[in-house]
Structures are given as C-alpha cells and as structure tokens.
Amino acid sequence: MLLEPEFLSRLERLSLATRGRMTGAYPGGHRSKRLGSSVDFADWRAYVPGDDFRRIDYQIYARLDRLLVRLYEAEDEVTLQIVLDATSSMNFDSKFETGARVGGALAYLAALHGDRARIWVVDAKGIRPSPWARSRDSAIALFKWLDKVEPGGKGDLPTALKRFASAGGLRGVTVLISDLLTEDWEATLRRMASPGAGGALLHVLSRAELEPAFRGDLLLVDSEAGGTVEVSLSDQVLRQYRKRTAEWMRRVSETCRRRDLHYELVSPDDDLDSLLLVRLREGGLVR
C-alpha cells in the first residue's frame, strides 16, 4: 500500500488548514464565506418578513426599538486539489513515489476530517483526476488508484494547470507536487493562483540534483525532452551549478510567497513524519 497503517494512524491527529474563508458545496468544519447556522455570531441585519422569529435579537429591540436579526458564521467543507507531476523528470531517485506518498497523506487527512480531496496526475497524456476521497475508505481507494499511475513521458505543466483551472480545480486548497524542472516554471506557478485559499508548492528535488555526484566530460541527456547538454564537470562547473540551482530555488520560493503559496522543499530522503507532522504543520498547510 502507498502508506503504512501506522503512519496513517499518526496522520489522524492532523487536519487540513485553510488561511481564509472558502465556500464548499457541503457543510463542513471550515469557515465559509457564507453565513450559516453555526454557533459563531457574525452580524445583525434588519428583519424582513419571512425571517425566522427565533433569530430576532430582542435585547437590541428593547434598547433600540428596532427589529434586527442575528446572523451566524457558516462552516463548509474544504476541497483539497492536489496536482501531482508524473512526468519523466519525476521518475528519478524515487521523486514520484515521494510526491505520491505526500499527496496521498494530505488527501487522507483531508478525507478523514470531512473534507474532499482528489489528486490530479500530470503526465504525457495531459491531466486526469483521481476519484474523490471523502472518507477513510474512499481515501484507501484513491491510494490504489495512485498505485497504478506510472510516471513517464513529457508533460506540459502550464497547459495542464490551465485545463485544471477550467475544470474548476482551483476551488479550495490546491497543492502542486512537482520538481518544476521546466523553462515554464513561472507560468506554472502563475496558474496556481488561489488567493486566500492557502495553496502550496511541494518542490520535490533529489540530493543528486542538488549535489551531482558525477564528474568528467559527459553528455547530459534530458529524460523528458531528450535534449542534451555537453558538460565537463570540473569543480568550478559544479560550484557554478550549485550556485545557479540555489538561486533558481530562491526565485521559485519568492514567486510562491508573492502568490500566497506555501513553499516546501521535499527530498526523497526526507522523513515523511517530520515533513507532515512538523514542517507542513509549521508551514500552515495542516494543523
């Protein structure tokens, strides 16, 4: 199975966190943009015929001699939409497996607390969604669906996210799990706009990408696009590579910050417990 039962049991303490109000199709545990029938007072408004008499604030009527109706906060479910990059570049160093596990874990904890979650997989065929996970059982079914996904092929993240958005995917919390190793990474992040909803980029990069171990004269072949780069990996070139990579990651992080997206660097070597129970909690994606 994608995630071990022991780990899933530890996830039960967590739930999805949202930074703003959002409207769900069904009542849930998150503050909604709508007013509803929760116990949290929200505002008054003038009584109009047809209002429920029980909501008239008689204390205000006694003091102000006006009929005002008490309004309360509504609580809706949250929709968690996870976009998982399954292109060839993710098919290295267990990057896809790590992304799938993190995505599955987020979907599980969301479903466990009455929210809806599903995972969109981006691969050579485009973008396709998994079934919704609304409960523990449906989350397990999502895991099985995810198990069958074979990463590979050349993907087009901006186009996929455009289709994702047009399919209404940007409602709710959106989490992109990808290495963003594409010239169009900025366009990809632009399409991730989800103001106030608290989206995130889980940036999956392996240690081999951050600290290449090979040396000498090499012809580097792009697993996805097939392009090649001739390099002579001297210490100087590697220093330059590390410097450029760090600079690029800083720019990605900055772009996420500007777009109100939480940025988290994820490595296949990371401990999943530490990632979900500590780092994503501190980042405000879960609580």
Binding site: V221, S223, V229, S232, K243
Partner: protein
C-alpha cells in the same frame, strides 16, 4: 644524444596540431541521462556549452599519443650519439684473453665488457675501414685479418674466450704490428685489465688506444701449492692469497686422488697471504688444494700438483775414474752406479756418463758427455780453447736454477759445435755446456774436463749435476707449473710417440722432443709414452692458475705517443634511431593497451594481491 642527422624532420612535429585539434573537437562523451537538463543549461551556459570546442584536458591517451609522435619525429630526425672515433683505415684490436679477464667484477665479465668496448671502437670506424683482431693469450694468434665486415670482426671477437693462463703480450704486440701495411700505420687498440709485466709495458706499441676493463681487486686465490717429502710421507704447502681489502674466511681442503685428506677453515687478513702445511701420507697421486670462496674469479680457487716417487736409477760411468764425480754419485739416493773403462753403449741403464771416454757412435741411453775423447754423434770438435772466458749464461734455464757459476774457471775446453743444442754456458761461439735431444734420448755435454776446471769445487756443482741428471732421465720437476707454460716432455727410453690428454677431454699426439704447447687450462695433463704400439709409461703434469692473474686490481697502461699512428681523432656519430623506434613501439603498445580498457589489468592486480597475501 648529441645531435640530429636530419634536423629538418623535426618539422613533422607539427602533426601534433591535428592530434590536439582532434582532441579539442572530440565529443565522445559518455551519456548520462538526468531528470532534466534545465538546471544544467543555466549552470554551464558560460562554461562549456557556449564553446565551439572543448578545452584540452589532461588525458593519458593524449599524452601517450604525443609521446609516440615525439618518438617518431625524433626517429625521423635520426639522432646520434657523438663519441671519439677511431681514425685511419685499419684498426687492430688486441684482446686480452688472460685468466684475469674471466673476472666477474663487471658483468657479464671483464671479457664481456672488453667485447662491448671493441664493438664501440669498430662502430666508430669510418665506413670501409678494415679490422684485424689479435687474441692475447699464452699463444697469441690473429683471429681475423683486415676484414671490412663488422660482423666478421665481431664474430672473431666473440670467439675469444679468456684462458686460465697469463697472456704473452710481447708476442701479441708483435703480431699486431705485423698486421700493419708498411708505411701505413694502423690504429692499434688494446682491450685489457692491465696485467702486463714491466717488460710487456715497454713493448706496447706507441700510440696504442687503451680500453681498460675491471674495477676491483676483490679476490681470494690458492696462489701456491708445493708438494714434497715430509717426515711421514708426502707433505703439501698451500698458500692462500687474499687480494681483498677485507679479511676473508675460506674453507680450504686438500684432496689426493679425489679423496679429501685435509681441510681447514682459515681466515686470511686483507691483502695478505697465508701458508698452511698438510701431511698427505706415503702414497702418491694427484693433489688438488681448493677453497670455497665467493669471489670474482673462481678459476683460481684450486691449485694442482702431482706426487711421484722417483724410481731407483741405474747409472753407468764410462771413463778412467773421477774422484769428484764418483763422490757425488754416491750421494744420490737409490742409485746403482756401475763403472766401465771400456766403451759401452749404455743399453739397460737409466743414465750413462762418458767422462773423458770414447763415445760409441750409438748410445742407447740418456748420456752426459764430459770432455769426450771422441766426439759423440752430432758433436763436431774443431780444436781446443785455452782458458776460455764465459761469455754467455742461460740464466733462465731450469738446469741453472740456483746454480751460481760466476766463479767458474776453466783451463782448457774443446772447441765444439752442436747443431740444435741449447747452450747453457758459452764462450764465444763455442758451447761449454749444452743440452739436446737425440732420437728418444736426451744428451748433455760438458766440453771441459772436471779436473781442468774448478767446477767440482763450486758450491753449485752438486746442484748442477743433480739438475742435469734429472733432466736427462726425465725425472726433473716439470718445467711447466702454470697454465700457459709449454710442457717440455722428457721421453722415456725407446719412446716413439707421446699421447697427451688435456683437461677438458681433448687429446694431442706428440713426437719425442716436442713440447706440449696447448696448456691454457689448469688441471692435470696426462702423458702416455709409446714405443710403437706398446705403451711404455705414463706421466702426469699439473698446471695451476698463474698467481699474477689472480691479482685483479686493474693497472694503468701508459702508452707513449706516436703522432704517426691514427688514434681517437675522429668524432664518430653513433645512430640511436633503433632505440628511439623501440621506445615508439613500446609507447604504441601502451597506447593500444590503455585505449582498449587496459585488458588484463584487473587480473594482474588480483594476481599480485594474491601473491602478497600470506599463504
């Protein structure tokens, strides 16, 4: 390398440029599939990808290929090594083949080094010059004369092996000079370790090129072996000489007929000799004194001698009687002396002394003639010389060894001529004392009567007579004691032929009176005497290593200049292209091996590792 014969060929070094270009354009990089080249394009934009060619990086293959090209270019330029060359059209090489040239202080041996030096000299000759080779051994000979073939000359040099004897350099130099064309002096080169006597050094042809070999004197030798009578039989006196600068310990053993009769471990101080005496018992035989020593010259680690009991002698004295002579004969041990006044041919006697007697025409025994009344066969008397003055003494003759005749005075002597005789004492042209061989018998002649001289009163008289008797009967100590000395053979009465067996298995037929010249080896020489087909006796002669050859310290050879003789006045250019091509071939093999992934390297490493591990 001192220069190039074709320096223009160095221009072909420009071929290095295409090789370098090939490496710069070479893009045979290993493929490495990575998730994305996105980050690499950014990182290497200014480092590698923007360059139309690669920077040349250190590569073993490139270095090997450049070295290979350098070797080939050098070979094309025909490098040479300059060395003083022999001028002139004719080079005569005198190769020392004495015993010390077998020393191994220089590997493979001094002779091997001399051959190499000889080759260098030959190669330094102008094309077309001829070469002669003389071997300087006990019997020097011309190995090859005036050949223009370098191969033939080297073949002749290779055929020269060091003997176990001293070399006769005087004869060798004579031979070398005889090879010169009159009026056209040849270049003469002596290749030697310097074991020349003072006399021989004076005979070195002026202007001779000297190539000296040998580096050290380190050697221990059995430098002497004397055998003789002792209180309990035979006794041997052995001398061990240590020429080394350090004290040496050697195991000495003395064998008689291959049975060890004595042995001792002895320490010999640096650069000194030590004598040891050993009792050998009453039986005769072949004696070998040998040492076990790790040194540079094993040939001198053994010395040889023969123990022989003299057989009783039957002596006949024919004449009126002589007090001095008879008194002397009585002193000879185991001698039976008969006297006759009448003439007798001496048949059946070991020795006949004709003292003032008529000598028959035919004498059938070795004979000493003292002032004979009638001259024996072969002696012509032309008159009498009164108070003859001694004008000639053969001081080096063994018969005069330890014999001082400086006080000899003679009243009168016969004026005789003896063709073929060796004169021991002479007065003008007349021999006073002479020896010769007649058929299978030896003869000695004293031209004056003992009573008409003071010879019997001389201390040397008994010694002289003993030497003469021994020589006549063939029982004298062998004249040859060291390898290289010819063996003079006293034939037994009736000998018609002698068969000599030489150490090493060779044999040689000799006639009575003929000396055995082929004595360049140490060891025992067997002599078998025949009368017709019948064997009538045997003798053994032992020859040891000449002590002078054991002294290995190389000696300087000073040569007087001779402007007329061509010397090392030419600069010879020795091509070294073969070595350079050899290096190129080696580089090519290494380049192939490296370029093909070093096949076998793993197995070799594993094998070495396995060998290094303890069993």
């Amino acid at each position: 390398m001192d220069g190039l014969l074709a320096p223009a060929a160095l221009a072909s070094a420009l071929l290095a440029i295409p090789i370098l270009i090939t490496y710069m354009l070479k893009a045979r990089r290993p493929r490495q599939v990575i998730p994305s080249t996105f980050l690499w394009q950014a990182a290497t934009r200014n480092v590698a990808a923007s360059r139309p060619w690669d920077r040349i990086r250190s590569s073993v293959l490139l270095i090997l290929q450049l070295l290979l090209l350098a070797a080939l270019v050098l070979a094309l330029a025909q490098p040479y090594r300059a060395a003083p060359g022999v001028a002139g059209d004719h080079l005569v090489l005198v190769m020392d083949a004495s015993g010390s040239m077998a020393a191994t202080d220089q590997l493979p041996s001094r002779m091997g080094i001399a051959r190499i030096e000889a080759r260098k000299l030959i190669e330094s000759l102008d094309p077309g010059a001829s070469v002669s080779v003389v071997s300087a051994n006990p019997r020097p000979q011309v190995m090859i004369s005036s050949t223009s073939s370098r191969g033939e000359a080297m073949k002749a040099i290779e055929a020269i092996e060091p003997t176990e004897a001293a070399a006769d350099f005087a004869e060798a130099f004579l031979l070398a000079e005889s090879l010169e064309t009159p009026g056209e002096p040849a270049s003469i080169a002596l290749l030697s370790d310097g074991g020349l006597s003072e006399e021989e050094l004076r005979l070195v042809p002026p202007g001779t090129i000297v190539r000296k070999v040998g580096t050290t004197s380190s050697n221990v030798a059995v430098s002497g072996l004397e055998v003789g009578d002792g209180p309990n039989g035979f006794r041997a006196l052995v001398e061990i000489h240590n020429f080394d600068d350090d004290e040496r310990t050697v195991d000495l053993s003395v064998d008689v007929d291959d049975v060890e009769v004595a042995s001792e471990t002895i320490e010999v101080a640096a650069d000194s000799a030590l004598e040891r005496s050993f009792e050998l018992g009453p039986l005769g035989g072949r004696v070998v004194a040998s040492i076990v020593s790790e040194d540079n010259l094993p040939q001198d680690n053994a010395a040889f001698a023969v123990l022989e009991r003299s057989a009783p002698r039957k002596i006949l004295v024919v004449g009126p009687g002589n007090f001095f002579l008879e008194s002397l004969l009585e002193q000879i041990p185991a001698a039976e002396v008969d006297t006759e006044e009448a003439t007798d041919d001496g048949a059946g006697y070991d020795l006949v002394v004709y003292d003032r007697a008529v000598v028959p025409r035919r004498v059938r025994a070795p004979a000493l003639f003292i002032a004979p009344k009638v001259s024996p066969a072969g002696v012509t008397t032309s008159g009498v010389i009164k108070t003859p003055q001694i004008t000639y003494v053969a001081a080096d003759d063994p018969l005069l060894d330890q014999v001082d005749l400086s006080e000899l005075a003679i009243a009168r002597t016969d004026d005789v001529r003896i063709p073929g005789a060796r004169t021991l004492l002479g007065s003008g042209d007349a021999p006073l004392v002479a020896t010769w061989s007649q058929g299978s018998y030896r003869r000695a002649f004293i031209g004056f009567s003992l009573n008409e001289s003071n010879l019997p009163l001389q201390v040397a008289f008994p010694i002289f007579i003993d030497h003469v008797f021994s020589w006549l009967t063939g029982s004298e100590p062998p004249s040859a004691r060291h390898a290289g000395d010819p063996i003079e053979i006293a034939p037994l009465p009736g000998t018609t032929a002698i068969e000599a067996s030489i150490p090493g298995g060779r044999g040689q037929q000799l006639l009575p009176g003929q000396a055995l010249e082929d004595t360049s080896s140490t060891g025992f020489y067997g002599l078998t005497f025949f009368d017709g087909e019948e064997e009538i006796g045997r003798r053994t002669v032992a020859l040891s290593f000449p002590p002078g050859e054991s002294e290995l310290a190389p000696k300087d050879i000073s040569v007087r200049p001779n402007p007329a003789r061509p010397g090392l006045t030419r600069t010879a250019r020795h091509p070294v292209v073969v070595w350079v091509l050899g290096l190129a071939l080696l580089l090519l093999l290494v380049e192939w091996w490296w370029g093909h992934g070093r096949p076998g390297a793993t197995e070799i490493t594993a094998l070495l590792r396995r060998e290094r591990e303890p069993a």
